[in-house]
């Protein structure tokens, strides 16, 4: 292969990447603004909220509980050396609200719900269900894509809030009930140092941004995948990888802007 051929390949790969980015942007605009609503939307949205949100609840609650417990245990072991183990409450709460709550929820959400969305939509495309819908005059963006996108936007921030609460409760269980930190100082230190707007609302904003990015990537990868079984498997992998990288990168930028 000559040097010119390599250059051509490189250029084509670059153009492909930019085209895919543009296609996903147009896709998002079409789904969100091109159509006023999604048909007999409410029932479709409820069904997706169930499969995307409610079914993810178990993994979120269990991992939130264990992450809160581990944070309290580690925090206690470090802080007890300085004789300030009362600060374990504020440490657990701030870590969960600012960073771990939104980020870990988004990563779990990408693995649990995002990959499922990609695989489902990809298979619909591979078995030509999407093009059949178009043939009979039904818009797949409106009936298939839009409800899934909105369900993701709505459920991930809610999941992140549940994650934080369960984590803080798990931390209290370890610190107060097991390690014997005085429960008054656990909660009071927490309430003195956690600010509603700075910590809780900023964490919620992070969760909303991550929800947007993860769901967008998942749905677009499904819609844009190569309609073969290999293509679906590649698209599912890409969803998890891209979504995780995007969440971690965005988290740094958002933290730098917020705190």
């Amino acid at each position: 292969m000559s040097a010119v051929d390599r250059l051509v390949l490189l250029g084509r790969a670059g153009l492909d990447t930019i085209t895919a980015l543009g296609r996903s942007g147009l896709f998002l605009v079409n789904v969100m603004f091109g159509r006023a609503s999604f048909g007999n939307g409410w029932a479709l949205l409820v069904k997706q909220l169930h499969s995307v949100g409610v079914l993810s609840l178990a993994i979120i609650v269990v991992s939130g509980l264990f992450i809160g417990m581990v944070l309290a245990l580690q925090g206690y072991n470090i802080l007890v050396g300085y004789g300030s183990e009362q600060a374990v409450g504020q440490m657990v709460a701030l870590t969960l609200l600012r960073e771990l709550g939104p980020v870990v929820t988004a990563l779990l959400f990408a693995g649990r719900a995002g990959s499922a969305l990609t695989a489902e939509i990809g298979l619909m495309k591979a078995t030509e269900q999407l093009s059949s819908m178009e043939m009979i005059g039904v818009d797949p963006l409106k009936y298939v894509i839009a409800p899934r996108l909105w369900a993701g936007f709505i459920s991930m921030p809610l999941l992140a809030m549940v994650f934080c609460v369960v984590g803080i409760w798990g931390g209290a269980m370890v610190a107060v009930d097991w390690l014997g930190v005085y429960s008054g100082s656990y909660w009071t230190n927490m309430q003195n140092s956690v600010q509603f707007v700075d910590d809780v609302l900023n964490g919620l904003i992070k969760a909303v941004v991550f929800a947007f990015v993860v769901t967008w990537i998942a749905v677009f990868q499904g819609y844009d995948c190569e309609p073969t079984s290999e293509g679906i498997s590649r698209a599912t992998t890409r969803t998890v990888v891209y979504a995780s990288l995007a969440v971690l990168g965005l988290d740094f930028i958002l933290t730098a802007l917020m705190f």
Binding site: G83, I154, V165, Q191, N192, S193
Partner: protein, 154 residues
């Protein structure tokens, strides 16, 4: 019936999310609705507020009676102005009460402690606490201690 069950679980899920946000606001961030309505504000000037933050407790005899609302530097007096909101129930503070900046525990957070004076005039909304004691700065304390031991040896 199947759709109805689906709607029920989704409803419970959304309710759980909203409830979680409320818990975070009330229990974790300590946001208490309507507590700001029944306070009056006083201010005091301190030479050094090192470590005192907004929303810190204002206590009397160890009981919380209010909180710090704002801290800013007064460039004309070269000192820090601390604004405090005191609960209106506590309206019998003499005008010559002392405000001092104290520390909870060895490394704990800073708070303002008020000790009672003897004057008959009372603190009202907008009045100033003249008698103040600044925060204890460990370096200054050690410096003074060293200076004392040196001058004793002379």
């Amino acid at each position: 019936m199947r759709i109805r069950n689906l709607e029920l679980t989704v409803g419970v899920f959304i309710l759980a999310g909203v409830l979680a946000l409320t818990v975070l606001a009330l229990r974790v961030a300590g946001l208490t609705p309507g507590s700001t309505g029944s306070t009056y504000s006083v201010h005091a000037y301190f030479d050094n507020v090192a470590g005192l933050t907004s929303r810190a407790k204002v206590t009397m005899s160890g009981v919380t009676i209010g909180q710090v609302t704002a801290i800013e530097f007064d460039k004309n007096r070269y000192s820090a102005r601390v604004d405090m909101a005191i609960d209106s129930d506590v309206d019998t503070l003499p005008a010559d009460s002392t405000a001092s900046i104290l520390t909870a525990g060895l490394l704990g957070e800073k708070y303002v402690g008020i000790s009672v004076g003897g004057e008959e005039d009372l603190l009202v909304d907008g009045s100033e606490i003249y008698d103040t004691q600044s925060a204890l700065v460990l370096e200054e304390l050690i410096g003074r201690f060293l200076l004392n031991t040196v001058s004793k040896e002379d």
